[in-house]
């Protein structure tokens, strides 16, 4: 599974939202993405991609695309693979 697929799958698994609805999601824009699920999402992404979010990045992780940006720029996750 590619990093893009792992990242997408984390949202599907934690938020229970169909994959096609995940792009464009932002924190708190759907009831499923609340503070508790946010922390679960962080944990699942960390495990799937083998990284550990810095505390400030947990709060800055405010949407699907923003998360990709953070992971790519700050943790070197390659989403082209």
């Amino acid at each position: 599974m590619s990093n893009s697929e792992k990242y997408l799958q984390a949202f599907v698994t934690v938020l229970g939202i169909p994959a096609e609805d995940v792009p464009g999601l932002t924190y708190h824009c759907v009831p499923e993405w609340d503070s508790a699920r946010h922390m679960e999402l962080v944990a699942v992404i960390e495990e799937a991609l083998g990284i550990m979010f810095e505390p400030d990045d947990i709060l800055d992780f405010s949407g699907f695309e923003k998360g990709r940006e953070l992971l790519s720029a700050r943790y070197g996750v390659d989403f082209s693979k």
Binding site: Y27, H28, P31, W33, D34, S35, A36, H38, M39, E40, V42, A43, F53, P55, D56, I58, L59, D60, S62
Partner: protein, 182 residues
């Protein structure tokens, strides 16, 4: 932009007290409490009335744009030792995403307004999310555990080091405009 406000339980209207009782007795919240029994209306009224003269604890209704959303409390307030135990929950499920700002407000009030040097807390082991927020975002330190709970502490020095950055992120990511207390 959202305005966050906190209203002391001693100032609550009858309707607000009823709302708090409804939240507190909801299974989702009750099962996470140390005292998890269902609270009767009379017991709740007595409890709120008893808060007027107490200095060892304080309870606040949390409002977002004047909509009641949750509860923040400070227990075991010790003004000599400058410690207390904060606790919080979101009662209105539409606002579960406001947990982070509520956490921030708890720390801001305890450290900056109440002058605490140390905050202590117990988090149930079946509540890894609260534990994770406390540890990873607010820099909590593990101080021990029982069979069912983890003990965690927060130091003023860590808060002072982190609060500016935290506030910037809370303000931006949660569109928070300001915080008021009454």
């Amino acid at each position: 932009m959202a305005k966050l406000s906190f209203k002391n339980f001693t100032l609550l209207t009858s309707a607000e007290r009823d709302l708090v009782l409804e939240w507190r007795n909801a299974d989702r919240i009750r099962c996470r409490m140390t005292n998890s029994h269902r609270i009767a209306p009379e017991e709740h009224e007595r409890f709120v009335a008893s808060l007027a003269g107490r200095s060892d604890c304080s309870y606040f209704l949390f409002l977002v744009d004047e909509v009641p959303v949750g509860v923040l409390d400070f227990l075991r307030i010790d003004s000599r030792e400058k410690t207390c135990e904060p606790g919080l929950y979101i009662g209105d499920e539409r606002y579960l995403g406001m947990g982070f700002p509520l956490y921030f407000c708890a720390f801001a009030h305890a450290f900056d307004d109440m002058g605490c040097e140390l905050l202590c807390g117990s988090v149930r082991k079946d509540n890894p999310v609260s534990y994770g927020i406390g540890k990873r975002i607010f820099g909590g330190l593990d101080t021990g555990e029982t069979e069912t709970e983890r003990r965690i502490e927060f130091r003023r020095s860590d808060w002072l080091r982190r609060k500016k950055e935290l506030w910037a992120r809370i303000k931006d990511n949660f569109k928070v405009e300001g915080i008021t207390w009454s």
